[in-house]
Assembly symmetry: D2
Homo-oligomer: 456 residues x 4
C-alpha cells in the first residue's frame, strides 16, 4: 500500500467558494475579507453577530507525549472534522498557523496530511494572510523601541542586563540566537548581548492567541514586562509607549482566517504559538466564532496532553469562557512502542526495523504514557477518547492492547484511517466523540496544586 | 488657509469596487486576487492577456534634488493621474510600496497627500499584501543558509569576511546595524560581524522591482553574489541552493497590487526599493500591465532626477523595453530657495522664517539645480515638464523665476494645486504633459561615459 | 591598644644584606642574582649543591575555612619563622608572591602584617622580580599562537568552541572576563568568544609552582591541553610549538626569590597560584632549596586546610618528594564565631558589634569547622597544631573553648601575638610545633576515595 | 666571508663587572640597583649628583627612510660607541628597550648585531628589568578603572564611544586588535567595542620616555585624556584618580637600565616607544645621566630621520633641554638601491639577485631619500655625518656615489665595518663624528610651519 503524497493530494483538491463555506457556519459576506484564493479573514464583529446561534459541542484534540515520529494531531483534527458530515453532523475545525522557519527546516508543513488536510496547503504553509509577519513586525518594533530608549538617555533607568525582550524572526537561523547588537558608532546604539527567537515563540504571538478583542490585545501588549529598572521594578511596553503601535501593526492579524478541508469542512486557522515554549493553542477569537458554527467545534492543542491540553484547559478556556465537552487523545502504535524506551528513534533517521514487527508487549510497556494522559484529562472532568491513528505497519494485536488499556481507564477508543481515507476513515472516532460529548461531565479548572505537574 | 489632514481626507474617501477599477484598465475578474478591502493582486498572466491593447503614453515623475522639505513627487504623480480625467483622458498611476520602518520613524507615509492620495491609505502604509514581508523573509532565508553553510563545514570554502549579504528588517532599528552573530555554543553557529539593513535596501527588493516574470526573478536570485571563496571567486545564491526557496517565498509578492486614488484613478502599487541605495523605482511588471491601461501611465522615480530618473531611463526601461514619452520634474519654491545654500533646513525642525518671505533672488540662485536636472532629462531625448507644486507661502514673483528658467531651457512648466484641490488642481500640468508626450522625441539610453554623473 | 600599621612598620625595617641572609641557609654568592634592593633570585643549581646538607623539619601552615575577616595565615607563617630564633633554632619561611590585581583591588597585600612581615613589602606587593609578568607573557603567547593557528588555516583542525585556554592579566578588570575577540578585518583574526582570567589562575602559574626543574617545566608546558580537534582529540601546547617559547619567557621566573622577614629570617617568595582555583601553594623548587636551610622550613598552604593543605599533601608533596612533619592550623576567635552562622560578616563592611563581645558559646558552635580540619590533617598522618592568632577583642574564656576542643581532638594549641610582638609573640607556637614535629608520625598520600572531600 | 651569528657572539662576550662600568661614567655603587646578571638600574638621584661633571658631546644616530632590509641604526649606534675608545675618547650609548611581541614575531631583537651588540643580549630581548611589563600594567590599570567607572554609575558622564584609551599587551596578538569587552552578566561590566595595542604604542610608554622625574611622570599621567564626557569635554586620568596608581606601578620603571656593549662601553637601555606610532626615542632621564658620562653620548632615534630624528629634535630635546652636536645618518648600499623604486623588496622574502649586483646608478637614484634627510637635519642647525653600514655585497663604485652626494650636500661620510669588526670597524665614523661635533653650529627647534613635513 502506498500512502498518498500530501502536496499531490492537496493540489487536486476541489475548493468550494469561501462565501459558501462561511455561510455554512453562519457568517455573511459582509464579515469576510478575501485574501488571495481560498482564504479570507473574518471580521471580529462576527463574535457579537453570531452570539444568538446555538453553541457547538467543543472538542479538543491532544495526544500522548510527542515522539520524533509525529502522532498526527493536526491530521486527526482535520479527519475528525471531516468525519462528522458522514454521520449527519456539521463540524468546524480550528488549527494553528504554520511557522515558515520549520517549513524550510525539517519539520514539514502544518496543514495536516494525506486526505485530511486544510487547503490551499501552500497558502497555509507560506505567508497565509501575513499574521506571523505582523507578529514579527510588532515584536521587533517593541525591541527597537527598547534599544532606542537606552540610546536616547534611558529616562526609565532600564537595567540593560535585565531586558528579556529579544527579537524574533520566522526563519530557522541559528546564527541569530546569540548576538551582540548596538555595535558601531555612537549613533548605532548601545552595545548589548541579546538574540533572536523564532516568531512562534513571541509573547506577542501568545497574546494574539489569547486576546478576546482588539482592546483586550491592546491592553495585554501594554502589560508586557520587558525588563526591570535599576531598582528592580518591572518596566512595561506601555511605559515605552509601544502598545499602541503594536496594536496598529496587528489590527488585521487579530482577525481569524477562514479556509476549508479537502472535504470542504470549514477550517479556522489562526495564531501559531509553539507548545514547547508558549501556549500551543490556536486563537480564542477563532474558537469564539467557530463555537457558533454548527454541531461540533474541533480545536487542536499542541504537544502532549500535559502541555497543550493542560494549557487549553487552564489558560485558553479560562480566557474564552468556553468549556470542553470531550478530549481526543491521539496515539499511534509505533509512538507507544517508542515510549517503551526500548528503541532509539531519531528525527530524520529511518525507523529501527524491529519497531515495525508485531509486538504487543512493547505497546503495553509504552502505554504508561497514555494512561497518565487519560488521567490528566479526567482530572479536569472531561471525557477522553483515544484515537488510534492507524499505520500500514500496525497489527491488530497491538490495537487490542490499546483498546484494553483505554477501557480499563474508562476511555472510549477508535482506530482511524483518515490519512488514507479522509473523513470516512474517522467515522468510528466521530461516533465515539459524539457519545463522549453527550456524557454529563463537569469541566473544571485546576488550581496550581491540583495540576498533574504538581502531582508528579 | 488650512491644509487638509491626510488621514482625515483618506478616511472620507469613497472607494469604487476594485473589479470596476480593474475593468477600466482592461483587467478581468479572473486576473484579480482580492486582499482585504480595497486591495487586490493582479496575476502576471495579465501581461500576456493585455498585450493586444494599445500602449499608453509613458510619463515618469521625478524631481529636483530632494531637500528635507519634501517636494511632493508622489502627491504630484497621484494628482497628475487624477487630472487627466478632467481633460477627457484616462490614466493609471504606478507608485512604490511603503516601508513600515520609516512610517513608524520620522518620514511619514508613502500614499501621497491631501486630495491626491492612494487609498486605503492605512493598508498601503502598513502590510498591504505582505510583499515587503516576503522580501524580508526571502532575504533572511538566504542569509540563514549562508551562515548555516559556514556552520556545516563550508564546502564552498566561503571567505567569512567577504560575505556582503547582510540581513534585513522592515523596522528602523539602529541597534541591529552592526552586530556580532553566531555567538553561544558550537551549535549556535560561527561567530562573525554582520548587521541588518532596512528591507527596502535589499537586493531582493531591487530584483522584485526589475523582474519581468517569475522565471526571470528566479534566475536573478540565482545570480546574487553573496561573497567570495578563499581564492576570490564569487559565490552565488544558486551555489547555496537558495534561489528556489527565495522564489517560492516571493511567488505571491511578484504580483502587482491594484488600488485607487481618492478620485478612483487606478493605482498600481508595487515594490519599494529606496532611491538612495537601490533603483528607487516601482516594479517593471506593474508598468508592463499599466502601459495597457488607457491613455497615460504615470510612474514615479524616487529621489532627484539624477538618481531615480537616471536609473529609470538606464536600468528599468532597459529591462522593461518601455520608452518614456515625457518626464515631469517636480519643484517647489521653498526647495529651490533651500538649494540657494542660504538657509539651514533640518528635517523635523521648523522652517527658517526668512525662507518663507517673498524672495525671487533665492529661487533664482537655487534653480541651478533645476537647470541641471532638465539638462539631464534632455540627455535621454525626453521632453521635460516642470511641475511647480504650490504652497500657500509661495509668491507669484517666485513662480515667474521658475517659469523663466524653464522656458529658457525649453521645458514646459505648470503651477499645480492638486494637494488642496485634487485632480482639478493639476489640469494645467496634465495639459502640459499631454503636449510634451506628443512631441517627436527619440528616447535613448546613455553609455556610462555619457551619463550626467560622468560629466560632472 | 593601637595595632601597628603595616606600611609604617615595614618602612622602618632594618634589612640585613641579602648575601648574609643567603649564607645562613647555605647559599653562596655565586648562586644569587640580586634584583633591586633586598631581593635576589636563587639559581636552581642550589638544589643540587645543597643536597648534602641535613633536611629541616617541614611544617605547613594552613587554616580553618576562610572568612571575610582573614585569619592571618601568612602573618602566622612569618611570625612562626621569626619565633624559632627565640628558642635557639633556625628557620626559613616559604610564601607565595602577591598578585597585583587584588593589591589595587580590595584584598590588600600578601606580605604578612604588623611585626610579622616579609620585606621590602612594596617590592613583594608590586612587580618583585617580574615572575608574574613572565607568567602573563608566557600564557598570552600561547593564547596568541592558538588564535594565530586558527587564522593561518587551522592545520590541527582545532574546534574553536572547545578552546579552554583563555588569556590572563594581573589586573582586576571585570570588563575583560567575557569578550568577543578577532573582530575587524580578515587579517585581524577569527572571531570567537573568550575572555581573561587573573594571572594567578593561569595553568602556567600552577606549573611554575609544581615544576622541579627547567626541563620539567618545559615538558609540563608541552602537555597543556588547550582544547580538542574536530574529532574530540586533545590538542596540546606542544603541537602548537608553544612550549619552548613559554619556557624561554619563564626561564628566569623559575628561580625562587630570596627576601627576609622584619627579624631577618630568610624568606623564599615564589609563585602565586590562587587556592580557590589552582594549587594555592608556593613553589616546589623554593621548598627544595629551603628544606636544606636549617632546622625548620615553614611553608604556607593557601585557603582552608581542606583546599590548600590537601593540595599540599596530595599534589605538591607528591611532586617534591618532601614529607611534612607538622601542620599548623591558624584560627581566630572572631572567625570561629563567624562560623557559628549567627552573624552576617561581609568583606569591606564593619564587623557586627555583638561579634566582638565575650561569647564562648559562639566559638564553640563555630569550632565544628576547626574539628573537621584537624581531622583532615590527621587523615594524612601529620601532627596538627592549632595557632590561635590573638586579637585585642578576644577573651580568655573564648581561648579556653578552642584549647578544650583542640585537646579533645589530640592537637597541640598555642595563643600567638606575633602581629603585635613579632617572633617573641609566637614562641609558644614555635615550641608546640617543635614538639609536634618530633612525634613519630607516618605521612601518607590519600587515594581519591580516602580524601576528606570524598567522605563528606 | 661568513657573518658572525648574533647569539653566538653575544654568548662569548666577556662582561665587565657593572660597578666598574658605572664608575667609568661617574656613577657610584650607591646609585646602582643590580637586576640579575649584567644589568642594573640607576637611581634618578644620579641626575642631580652628576650635574657638576662636564657635558659630553651629544650625538644622535638616525637613518634614511627604513626599508624591509634594516639599515643597522642600533648596530651603528653601538659600533660608534665602541669606536671612540680606539681614538682615545670615552663614550656612552643610549638605546631603547626591546618589545617582546616583535621578538617572538618576525622583527628579531633590539640589541644591535654582530660585534656591535649590547649584552647580555637575552636579558635585553626578554624582560630586562620589567619596565615594559610595568608600562603594560599601568596602562591596563587605567583601562580597568575607565570601564569600572562606567560600571559604577559613570559619575563623570563619560561618553563610552569617545574612549580612546585601549588596552595593551607586549605580545603580537592579532585577535585582540578589535574586541567587544564587558560581555556576560551585569557584574561583568558594560559592553563596549575596544581593543589592544602593543605596549610599545602605549602613551604611558611615551610618557616614560619623556619624563624628567617621578613627579613629572606623575603629572603627565594625570593629563592623559582618555575620552570626553557627553558634552565633549575631555576627561583625564587624574579625574579617574588613576595617575597615582600608575605612578606607583611605574616607580621602578622610571630608573634607566645600565648594561654594556661587547667591548664594555657603558650602555643605557631605557624605554621603548615605537617610532611609527610614538616618539621613537629612548628616555630623557637616561640621556640626562649619560650626558655626564664622558666625551660622547651616542643616542639613537628610531625610524627615518624625518620621524625619529625630528621627534628627537623637536620633542625629546625640548623636554630634556639638551642640544645635539652632531647627527649620524645610517645608510646602506642596498637600502638606497631599494629606494630607487626599481625592486620589490619584501620582509621575510629573499632579496632579488639583481639588487646585489654592482649598480651605482640605482644607488644614485635611491639617494634622493638620503639628500632629503641630510637637508632635514641641516634645518635644525646640526652637523650631519653619513655612516655607510658596509655589507659584503657592496661595491666600491657604489660607495663613491654616496660619498659624492654627501659631499655635495656638505655632509661628512664614512664607511663602517663595525658589524664584523666591532669598534675598530667604526673608527673612521668616530673621527668624522668628532669633527662634526666640533663645528660651530646653532641647534634650533623648528616651528610647525618650518618642519620638513610642512614643506613637503
Amino acid at each position: 500500500m502506498t500512502l498518498p503524497k500530501n502536496l499531490e493530494v492537496a493540489r487536486k483538491a476541489k475548493l468550494q467558494p469561501l462565501d459558501e463555506i462561511a455561510a455554512e457556519i453562519g457568517i455573511g459576506e459582509h464579515l469576510l475579507e478575501p485574501y488571495g484564493e481560498g482564504v479570507a479573514k473574518i471580521k471580529l464583529d462576527a463574535i457579537e453577530e453570531l452570539s444568538g446561534r446555538p453553541k457547538a459541542k467543543y472538542v479538543v484534540v491532544s495526544a500522548i507525549t510527542p515522539t520524533p515520529l509525529g502522532e498526527g494531531k493536526t491530521t486527526t483534527t482535520v479527519g475528525l472534522g471531516q468525519a462528522f458530515k458522514h454521520i449527519g453532523k456539521t463540524a468546524t475545525v480550528a488549527v494553528r498557523q504554520a511557522s515558515m522557519g520549520p517549513v524550510f527546516g525539517i519539520k514539514g508543513g502544518a496543514a495536516g496530511g494525506g486526505y485530511s488536510q486544510v487547503v490551499p496547503m501552500e497558502a497555509l504553509n507560506l505567508h497565509l494572510t501575513g499574521d506571523i509577519h505582523a507578529v514579527t513586525e510588532a515584536h521587533n518594533q517593541l525591541a527597537a523601541m527598547i534599544d532606542n530608549h537606552l540610546y536616547q538617555g534611558n529616562a526609565l533607568d532600564l537595567e540593560a542586563h535585565s531586558i528579556s525582550w529579544r527579537r524574533v524572526m520566522d526563519v530557522n537561523d541559528r546564527a541569530l540566537r546569540n548576538i551582540v547588537a548596538g555595535l558601531g558608532a555612537r549613533t548605532d546604539g548601545v552595545p548589548r548581548q541579546t538574540g533572536f527567537d523564532i516568531t512562534a515563540a513571541s509573547e506577542a504571538m501568545a497574546i494574539l492567541a489569547l486576546s478576546t478583542s482588539l482592546q483586550d490585545m491592546r491592553s495585554r501588549f501594554g502589560r508586557i514586562v520587558i525588563g526591570t529598572d535599576a531598582d528592580g521594578n518591572p518596566v512595561t511596553a506601555e511605559e515605552l509607549k509601544a502598545a499602541g503601535v503594536m496594536t496598529v501593526i496587528m489590527k488585521e492579524a487579530i482577525k481569524p482566517n477562514l479556509m476549508q478541508t479537502l472535504e470542504n469542512t470549514p477550517a479556522l486557522v489562526h495564531a501559531g504559538p509553539f507548545g514547547n515554549i508558549a501556549t500551543g493553542n490556536s486563537s480564542v477569537v477563532a474558537d469564539l466564532i467557530g463555537i457558533r458554527g454548527g454541531d461540533f467545534l474541533i480545536t487542536e492543542a499542541g504537544f502532549g496532553a500535559d502541555m497543550g491540553a493542560e494549557r487549553f484547559f487552564n489558560i485558553k478556556c479560562r480566557y474564552s469562557g468556553l468549556e470542553p465537552d470531550a478530549a481526543v487523545l491521539v496515539a499511534t502504535v509505533r509512538a507507544l512502542k517508542a515510549h517503551s524506551g526500548r528503541y532509539e528513534v531519531r528525527a530524520g533517521k529511518p525507523l529501527p526495523e524491529e519497531l515495525l514487527r508485531e509486538n504487543p508487549d512493547d505497546v503495553y510497556a509504552g502505554a504508561a504514557n497514555l494512561r497518565k494522559q487519560i488521567e490528566n484529562i479526567r482530572l479536569h472532568g472531561v471525557s477522553p477518547v483515544v484515537a488510534i491513528n492507524a499505520f500500514p505497519t500496525d497489527h491488530e494485536s497491538e490495537y487490542d492492547v490499546i483498546r484494553e488499556i483505554a477501557e480499563e481507564m474508562g476511555a472510549r477508543v477508535a482506530v482511524c484511517n483518515h490519512f488514507s481515507e479522509g473523513g470516512t476513515g474517522a467515522v468510528e472516532l466521530a461516533e465515539a466523540v459524539a457519545e463522549a460529548a453527550e456524557e454529563q461531565t463537569e469541566f473544571e479548572f485546576l488550581t496550581p496544586t491540583e495540576r498533574p505537574c504538581a502531582k508528579r
